[in-house]
Symmetry: D3
Subunit: 132 residues, 6 copies
């Protein structure tokens, strides 16, 4: 039932604000392993043998089958920045659904809701140095 | 912490409304795999060698050990429609708890909360063509 | 790729032998929490508001969506003892597959293989006080 | 996106209130398996060969890699009661992050948010007989 | 420890043989839901807005973060048929590792082992109508 | 059913050999993200605010509730090197069992089997720079 109802004023903005604030809190702590992990996470999605669009799609599908709404929202935003169109989104969703099963459906609903909000409100994706 | 506090006006109604709205959005998209999956999902719980009540109990326990609150709420509603009584609910919950461990407890709390709301408010289950 | 190939002499017997031997080792240890958990696990599947057959089917589906081959094998044996027939098994499998997705398929294959072996060799289920 | 935004008046208090209320509802039901499980859950974290602090850290890391926000919040509170300091918390978080991957990050954010609230508001941990 | 040791004569061939044999057993059963699921699974990876290579990479990463060795082996074979080269494989592996954490490492080892065997022995991928 | 039967000559040695061989194969590849992850994984368990013994226990419990036999075997070895005694092992097992549920039992059996083999054969743990 998390985040499902549509009456919150701006799910995208509040999601981005909380993530930014807490990432700052976490990185302010003197823990080298966590800092290095966050840095590695950013490096993972840089263009290489696979381009950014493909890597972000991989991140999206991984997040969907593991059923993490925040990670899904983040990668939906990044995929959109990388040029993934609506038909491609739904094919990535279909792979997630078939691999992960009906248990993915509530997350699919929220993914589509998040995508709709991004498209209708012209929201930009979170800053590039953000994490999941 | 999702959906846990009791001060939202009507958790059952808002859950049903969001699910119905998003299912429509998803099925409006021209993606055959997703549409066929939704149709298959509906077919799965029809009476066969096992009756509807048993199948809905199977869906409930599967949802509990995989820890998906929306799926649990959906199957709690369907089980109730199929005649599952409170004692039977708690036996299904007990199997979920022992197989899935204490990590299931927060979902058990929300399942009981949802069941309580269904019972006290006389809410009907979501329409039969809904999905998880 | 675990346990998948068919050339082992007797998958059912070796599975039962290892489980019995290790359960003894575990219960011989002086750890009250583990002993009480094992006892609670046994109690869970006793007839109550739901009969043994239904409870074992719940245990089977929970094991399939959580993808644990040993737990699946155990509950396939217990279900068979409780009178679940082949058509009912495949309906329980179908719920597991649709809820859990294609990731369940390799476990479905090993479940059917185990069921085939039980049926063809007339193997009896593991002793009633065994655990998953 | 569950519970992530910071505008709710008191996340800690509402979390504790809901958990207490629902635990009472659950234990009021005449289901021996569930009652015994709750009792066993309490027993698990008592001092033995390992002290309470170590056991609560084990419970915290288990909750983080399984990604259950309520269980994380509960064990963050218990760890703090047992004397875990901020540097130790972040080392336990780092193990959870490396074992569980970036999918843990949203839960890490909410864990740090919960810890911040406990520290700043002087909230006490939930009563000792609570469950996850 | 499953499938890890290198002394089995031909891991690829035995994997393919068991999968083919059991798929036949499963599809021979008169269960429409399971048959339709298998058919849908095949349809999912057909070229559409995303090409086969991208979809198979999505299937591979989904299988890795969900940690299913058989599914990983299957998609490694399909990816190779679709033209994924070694550098691309390792970038897909790196996304899986960072999203899923160190718990993915044992599956990464077996994925690389399977890829090595495919490359060195010139094994062909399993037939196109196979399932995970 | 993976790795469960006791008739393999030396489960510990073959486990260590396969892991070492494949780690070399993986690190020989020119993928910076994977190399950095492996290095980070090693760094995670170094003494800091928490000592090595506590961190290895955290790694063990995380591996048990996520149900990865190879990771469990690895951390059982490391815990033993760090001085964890049998009673402490079983308390860590008990936390894993109660948090993760009966689905953990087959992994508990293999963990105890692995510990027994380490103790009886005087096997040393894998080299310190190994990974899960």
């Amino acid at each position: 039932m998390s985040g499902g109802n549509g009456d919150e004023a701006d799910r995208v903005a509040s999601f981005n604000a909380f993530r930014s604030r807490m990432n700052e809190r976490i990185l302010a702590e003197d823990n080298q392993v966590i800092r290095r992990f966050f840095s590695l996470d950013t490096q993972t999605y840089r263009a290489g043998a696979l381009d950014v669009k493909t890597k972000e799609l991989l991140g999206l599908v991984a997040s969907m089958v593991l059923r993490c709404d925040d990670c899904i929202a983040y990668h939906v935003g990044q995929c959109r920045e990388a040029g993934v169109n609506r038909e491609e989104f739904f094919e990535a969703f279909s792979v997630s659904l078939v691999v992960g099963g009906s248990i993915v459906i509530p997350h699919l609903r929220r993914a589509v809701d998040f995508l709709d909000r991004l498209e209708s409100a012209g929201h930009s994706a979170p800053p590039a140095h953000s994490h999941e």
